[in-house]
Amino acid sequence: MAPPDENVPTRKVKLNFGIAGASLTEIEREISADEPPPLPVNERLKLIGKPVTRWDGRQKVTGAARYPSDIQLAGMLYGSLVSATETHARIAVIDTSAAEKHPGVRAVHVVEKILESAELRDPTQEIPSKYPIVRYAGQPVAAVAAVTQAEAARLVEVTYEKKPFVVDLERAMAAGAPPVFPAAADQEGSAGGGGGPAGVLQTGNVRGPMKRSSSPEAESGIDRSFAACDVVVEGEFRTRVQTHSCLETHGALADWRVDGLTVYSSTQGTLGVRDELAAIFGIPKSRVRVLTEHMGGGFGSKFGAGNAGVIATHLSRKAGAPVRLFCTRKEEQWATGNRPDARMRLRVGAKKDGKLHAIHLVSHGTAGVGTGAGVGGPIHSLYDCPNVLSEEHDVFTNAGPGAAMRAPGHPQGCFALEQLMDELAAKLGIDVLDLMDRNDSHAARREERKIGTRLFEWSRRKPAGSDKGPVKRGLGVAQAVWYRFTNFDAACEVRIARDGSVEALSAVQDIGGGIKTVIAQIVAEELGLEPRQIDVKIGDTNNPPGPASGGSLTTGSITPAVREAAWKARNELVKHASTAMGLPAADVVLESGRVKGRLPGQKDVSFKQAAAMLATEQISAQAKRKPEYGERAGLRLGGVQFVETLVDTETGIVRPVRVVAVHDCGRPMNLLTLRNQVNGGVIQGLSYALYENRKLDRNTGIMVNPNLEQYKILGSRDVPDIQVHFIEEYIARSSTDASGIGEPSTIPTAAALANAVHNAIGVRIRELPMTPARVLAALGKVPAAKGGAA
């Protein structure tokens, strides 16, 4: 929340409000007097909202785009990690002498503190040890910097004193389970997106319950609420650990010099990396520069400097040379974050008229040595229900820490909730979309259900399990809820030089969503230029601050600042040019690369000529994100997805064939990049639903699939036909009224597919991934696997 700017002059404006083509109207808002004028609906704009091709597309298709792991500096050394080979151990000795004697080695670093892990509430309770206690296989222990990508890390000898460990949820919860921490531990919510509340009751490895309720009555008497229901459905649902599997691994190239530190970091938050390194190394933020021109995927796992970034910096300082340290694929898969698993016991109750009356969730999940396995978001935020209670638990295991992953907790929570909604509708004898209509007042989702019903031809849906033959077809639907987060540390500078060149600068980084393109569109729209004429220089902490890209907040946070800066730069240009052109400033328009009078026959010059009229070499305008217009209260994003699937009841193979995804993101800024991102959300969701499962060997605690062939992510031949539709929703909250799409697009997919599978075969799959074995077991054709492999 931004502090309200007091004593700032304001003005009243009329802004678009509602859904274009359905309920569009206007609303009056009081806004800061120096804000740009209201932006018309997309239909009346040249570039904003149009399918503009990616600003840096040419760089990416020619190999010219330089990612942090591509950068080579003179004298650069290669860093490599020594990762723990034990799952739970005290380190007795780390012998680095052989590594230090290696002719190619320039620095050796022994890790003193592990990041991204929970920490003991009372540090004196820690097991006495010179080195950090190893709590998961793959934990960084030491690192070596050498002149080539050498094997010298293998020369570091680590002697472990092994301790008992536990890697799966149920065993970790059992009485007498080996304790992951010797006493209560917390991982506070961080810029990294992982973690959760501190000070939670901890018993053994189990932290919780963390209770959240819609009212004190719900907390004390949820059973009474269920007693008042006419229909109750319930079930236990399981999801598995998903790894981010970023294609560019976590890491950085750190260049420590006497006058400051420069770090090329594969991050989704340049400022967070800068701040973390400044704090850890005790240097001013002004002496740390983080650069991320491109980066190869984050999905929530790349916020802070991370262990790799901090270790690279230590090595660079020791070696007196730049050090490049990027995780190997194996290190990436087992130690750099994951989506925690979940065991959810959920009850949903309704009255005869289909009105939800009570929801109760008890969940357990493990984020390994971290916290943040909560899944309660959807039950609290998706439907209108008077009595809602969640009791969530984090369970520590000896496994790599969880991290924020694309809509933390929400795909899991939806997997349970939306399946029970489907079941409830069947029990009530009504269509599930009708049930949603009766309980969901979100305006965008209501419209999305309507549109999706038509595009998907929902009326084709037959009763569950009624398809004939061994390969059965099923249709399912599920909904998303996400939140319109805003980061007010979002600023942009727009410069116009006397030669007519234009730059837009911010520290914000493009993680693949395409914010560079959107920035170019906005600046070009204001200046009457083409997007490619704008030099977008972002991903650099020397620029004005930009938000970390997480929680689908980048677009909503940065675009109003960009627009305001561009508008101010435009006004400055017009001030100079209009005088030289002999026109009143108010009569000057900028369009199609021209700066000209409003009326025919008036002076008309090119943008370049107008820029040459500047009194100084360059004009510059900077703007930061203004507070939201109007009262800020619980703004949410929706999204509805429909899935059609085939299920082969002889092989157990689930094959989704069609998806219709209808979404809202405020004012859509670029229909091409947005569609791409929704495709990606759907594809990641299907991949999660069908294939992904981090497997730890119960006897050794080692990840058995730390690669990209045994840890399966969805490939091209598994992609169904995906149809994406956006509604254009105006809520009059900022000068762009834009929002993001990353999270909502992946939230409902697994649930919608599960509902489609049920519709096909008449049996519900309550556990992910929906492998052939699980499908056949659900059909009673093979016995269920015992104990549920970790």
Partner: protein, 214 residues
């Protein structure tokens, strides 16, 4: 996949030294190879077999994007590393480092190969085309144009490999169906989920009619 080249030392234009063919000749199974190779090479037992190179850096000439490039690499150096580290051609990406994701795809004599699974020494005189060499000057290859027009990229880290696989596809099949495109990139993993736009891109490129000639 039939279009993948077998690099087990059978190519007549190869340099004549292949670790796998050497180890096979020495009667070793793949399972025993890793442990045995250092001992064998180190002890000079390979003297009875083909020419021995290494363990130090060896001068070789690679034909990359139409130019002969002289570099020195250790025999263990993969083609991907030689391109990225020795020649600063960093458009080729290494993601899985074991041949399961195709991000490192380059063309050898027009045929897509995983450069992370190819030793630089094994390339010999064969012509290497990397993502940097696909465009002819400022004129992009039709597949590259298609990728921009259809927005077939997000983070872009798989894009180089995707483009190379698709360029090779259009060369052997100028008018592929959507299924054939999916088949051609079935080894190329994308975590952002750009596959549908990749197919759009190739269809766009095929319709432009310039795919084969580039």
């Amino acid at each position: 996949m039939p279009e993948r080249l077998n690099l087990d030392g059978k190519d007549p234009k190869g340099a004549g030294v292949s670790r796998r063919s050497f180890l096979k000749g020495a009667g070793l199974t793949a399972a025993g190879a890793t442990a045995a190779e250092a001992t064998l090479l180190g002890a000079g037992l390979a003297a009875s077999g083909p020419k021995t190179l290494g363990p130090g850096a060896v001068p070789i000439v690679l034909s990359v994007n139409g130019a002969a490039r002289r570099i020195e690499v250790e025999p263990r150096t993969t083609l991907a590393d030689a391109l990225r580290t020795n020649l600063a051609l960093t458009g080729t990406k290494v993601v899985c480092d074991r041949g399961s994701c195709s991000s490192c795809t380059v063309l050898l004599e027009g045929i897509p190969v995983n450069s992370c699974m190819t030793f630089a020494l094994d390339v010999g005189a064969r012509e290497i085309t990397t993502i940097e060499g696909l465009a002819k000057g400022d004129a992009l290859h039709a597949v590259q144009e298609g990728f921009i027009a259809a927005d077939a990229m997000q983070c872009g880290f798989c894009t180089s490999g995707m483009v190379m696989s698709c360029a090779a596809l259009l060369h052997r099949n100028p008018h592929p169906t959507r299924d054939e495109v999916n088949e051609a990139v079935s080894g190329n993993l994308c975590r952002c989920g750009t596959y549908p736009h990749v197919v759009d891109a190739v269809v766009h490129a095929a319709e432009s009619g310039r795919g084969k000639g580039g």
